[in-house]
Symmetry: C2
Subunit: 199 residues, 2 copies
């Protein structure tokens, strides 16, 4: 493989470290940046440099925050008695976009995964337990993904939280809105049957 | 759609401007950068900042260069009498990786595209014509992509270069190495028949 000039190889290497970007994709990005106006690479560089200085984890919930508390924990109109537990801030903002939840959140930072060496210590679980034990919290809704690891994490959290005297729930699972029953996979149909509710 | 903190929205916006990165992909990149060690975003920012200061177009061929001439134009062992015309530096490096060409290159910077407003003036065609007229060049091999736009560009260049007194060739087209004839598309089979050679 012939090498590009060193500054380009260096940038390619940095792009390839990112998830979902391979050698070809990185070459396409560099070509684009060198073909377009001079400012685009600088603007991206500036935005990246600000990331670590301007964003920190919320000390209460672990969400992305610009000061000690994130905008949600800092909002007195939110119902602090209900905590929705999510894997990461992107999942949190998905709930926020839905407008369906007015409680507060707790961001785990991932799911338990013995295979990838992610033990409870790697996740923001201690903080959740402390919050649940304050007496101000009545319900914890566990909204980890409906995957093997997400379910295992949910069960682990349910065991821990049971001792904290709070009500623990798992988000509903089943057919997504607007989906076609005939195209649903067997696992989802099983979840939908198990999650049936009286009408 | 709920907004992330401003520094994150800003970075997302910069990522989304890049080709092949959508909102979801950008969110994944930001999550990754905030979850991994602090240096990765900084290293990427640094590599981006160096791009425009350390890389310029080669004054002779238009390839990415660190000084006035690119490494290939600056290499006396290359056969300067044969020029291979490519759309962009990534295509040039694909030829270099093959080791199949020891001449020099000329980078057009794209293909002619009336629909996208790319006229001959937008491409590095004047420079090619000047190089062809110096008398040092005997053959120009046009290696634009085998697409409608690449072919149209090749025909346009052939007309211009015919007046410069150099031999003009188009790269061979047909079945790629190791491919299966039964799976080849009709257009490629047509090209392969037209490009047949006596054995």
């Amino acid at each position: 493989m012939a090498n590009f000039p060193e500054p380009i190889e260096n940038l390619l290497e940095q792009f390839i470290r990112l998830p979902g970007i391979g050698r070809r994709g990185a070459e396409r990005l560099v070509t684009h940046l060198l073909n377009t106006d001079a400012d685009q690479a600088d603007r991206l560089a500036g935005a990246l440099a600000r990331l670590k200085t301007d964003i920190r984890p919320c000390t209460r919930c672990g969400n992305w925050a610009e000061s000690e508390l994130c905008r949600i924990c800092d909002d007195p109109r939110r119902d602090a008695a209900r905590i929705c537990v999510v894997e990461n801030p992107v999942d949190l903002y998905a709930f926020e976009s839905s407008g369906a939840f007015d409680g507060v959140y707790h961001v785990l930072g991932g799911t338990l995964s013995p295979l990838r060496g992610i033990t409870p210590d790697e996740l923001n679980i201690d903080g959740l337990e402390r919050r649940a034990r304050t007496g101000d919290v009545t319900e914890v809704i566990i909204a980890t993904s409906p995957t093997v690891e997400g379910d295992a994490t949910a069960h682990y959290l349910a065991q821990i939280l049971a001792q904290a005297g709070v009500e623990v729930a798992r988000i509903g699972m089943g057919l997504p809105l607007g989906s076609s029953l005939g195209y649903a996979d067997a696992g989802t149909l099983k979840l939908a049957l198990e999650g049936r509710r009286k009408i």
